[in-house]
Subunit: 462 residues, 2 copies
Amino acid sequence: MSRPLILLFLIVTALMPGQTTCQDDDALMISRIHDESLGNGRSWKWLTGLCTRHGGRIAGSHAYLEATDYTAGLLAGIPGVRAYKQDCQADHWIRGDHEEVVIKKSKAGKLKLKALSLGNSVATPPGGVTAEVIEVKSLDEVEKLGREKISGKIVFYNRPMDPTKIRTFSAYGGAADQRVYGPAKAAEYGAVAALVRSMTTQADDFPHTGVTVYKDSLNKIPGIAISTNDADRLSNLLSQGPVHIYCRTNCRQEGKKPAPTVIGEIRGSEFPDEIILVGGHLDSWDVGQGAHDDGAGCIQSAEVLRILTTLGYKPKRTIRCVLFSNEENGLAGGKTYAAESNRKGEFHLAAIESDAGGFSPRGFGFDADTSVFKTYYRNVSKWLPLLESYGLQFETGGGGADIGPLKSQKGLLVGLRPDSQRYFDFHHTANDRIENVNRRELELGAAAMASLVFLIDKYGIK
Amino acid sequence: MSRPLILLFLIVTALMPGQTTCQDDDALMISRIHDESLGNGRSWKWLTGLCTRHGGRIAGSHAYLEATDYTAGLLAGIPGVRAYKQDCQADHWIRGDHEEVVIKKSKAGKLKLKALSLGNSVATPPGGVTAEVIEVKSLDEVEKLGREKISGKIVFYNRPMDPTKIRTFSAYGGAADQRVYGPAKAAEYGAVAALVRSMTTQADDFPHTGVTVYKDSLNKIPGIAISTNDADRLSNLLSQGPVHIYCRTNCRQEGKKPAPTVIGEIRGSEFPDEIILVGGHLDSWDVGQGAHDDGAGCIQSAEVLRILTTLGYKPKRTIRCVLFSNEENGLAGGKTYAAESNRKGEFHLAAIESDAGGFSPRGFGFDADTSVFKTYYRNVSKWLPLLESYGLQFETGGGGADIGPLKSQKGLLVGLRPDSQRYFDFHHTANDRIENVNRRELELGAAAMASLVFLIDKYGIK
């Protein structure tokens, strides 16, 4: 039956007292949620505001603090929502004021590579560093080459993301160790800097930043992302003979800064102590606008509250929109939130995270403590027929970085799963901007989340 | 089981003689098809060539003829493929050399609206036409207003596409009658021209062209698309009082021109008389590059042949890639192809069309003559478990405009179903360009089609 026919059927049966079932009511509510999001939604307007006024909002920055005011204001404007901020301190890393330079100088001329320091990286010395480049495909290769080959060099990690993975997050998972742990590994063997091929399957000119992690006991060296096109160019040059590179960066840690998490809450009428969290992370990298990562998830989460309220839905359980701080380079928001929640003895019946971009939603992934997972998953799976006509599927394995620390409360963790094909076109780049978000796709994601929140609230999952 | 684990399992079992099943072999083949498309695919390179060298290829134009050479060359370059052209004559409509003007003149100044003549429209008189605008929401409204209110006016059709439809093609289907039949209906009641709100749910500045159809017995009046932003602006002006508009267009029919359909064929080894067609339409509108509509479908269809050939697959049945002519403004290619096929007594066991954009594939829609549909659909449905892990679903109702005339051969008609959310951002506009296609999404569509062709070829559907 087509969707209009289903609706007609539901409306007709809804007009016949005693003839409706829960499933009919639920289908009608889910249809109304989608109509509201697509027909009268605020997602697009709100995300446009967040991106254009408060882009590049790395935790601890002025832009971040402004974004907390903006989003707290949006939440406070939804009738029945109590908006507040949760104190959080985050390490404030800044890229510095001067241009980041990665350049190959030779008698033949200069070749300038597009470069971005990795998040939390140290800078080069003020005068920069020049050294021979050695290309590797893995951290293991650095170990095998050993100190003799690595010492004094610039290590260039150049293993591409595997384009044949159907889901791009799998390809990312198979390559990101080079960025996260590569500079520390290179430092362990005496390298003076590390270049990392950007995390995308696209051939383009955008360097992708992202966090790198040092071992505290070791000397720290600069980690710098270069674009995939420049990585191919550099690799090609290396195949012709030795290459020396000059790098100069000026990033630094500024110490702990206030970076509050933003919260908006509707108190439940029957079971206020059962919390259904819906959220994303408000911080972004300093480049770009943080449109897909993760402005989209934050705005969708706020929109869930607005949609349910606008439709007159009175939740039985407490529905809490949480816009976490510092996901990108420390996870201070998620850790602080969980610690505070545990301290108060709270229970999150469910936590739904949207942090995979504002693309066409394709379903949800579910996770929970093994002692409860089977029961929860069996119960939520009963709702799948209500959501399939919206192109949504369920799968095991889910959650997200910010809600991960809540797992010990033994509630359900859920990740929204949007189509992943375009995510790494924009992820952690200057190109993660509002014009690369599609309004309808964003709105469908908000509607999918609101539908799941509605079902969890109405029926519970136990 | 994750996809890597499935693959490992399949490879291990494939190495154990006598331990494999057909399903295992098929899963492995489908995985190889996807690896080839995503890892070594030609779709992106080929589509880039088609778009950048032979954009705006309306049937009968020089650009169209060049595109037939380009694509026939691509097909001929695939080992084992016989490439040829099928003669076809199409009405060649041209927009004309002068700027198309829709302008509101008043003492307060000029307001210029972004305008595009509808395809197959007549032009205004050379000096243009000025008249009062009357806004309507439907063809019925024109009838109700009658000759008294309509005569001498410019009718402005302004019913938006319904944004709450989950699938944008449903919303298009609910609004496109204004463009297709609106000018003829307005002419019937004495209007001097018709403006049509563009077919998109986006608020933007791109007018969307598309075919309009006249009744031969009636006077023909110009039909002109205006952007949704301009439609809103004009409607707002009309709410304040009468508005007069000046329009001038210079489009015209140039008569029948050669516009061949391009074909590439691999002859089947066992059942050469059972044809599996895979295709799209090579013509596009004159504005833009015809990237999504339907360069993507053409290139994906050619890529199906290349992928299967590259993997060493020898089809039992004849696999024929058909790039139809004149889908946009006459369907001469599809009609000529079916007539010729019927004349030769051919049988198309299946025909798969990709004409819904090069977006992330979400499945296939199936159709056939009622006498055979149930059997076919039951048989193909057995393959769904092989395709679900690629995000593909099956549904009833499918096919497409070009393969529609083949239905009388009582084979299976199939439409590739990509995600539809972004299609009408680009459809029939100057913005339908290669930079708005995502490489991976395009490649996944080609792989989905190749997988289905493989299964139909291997097992049949009867």
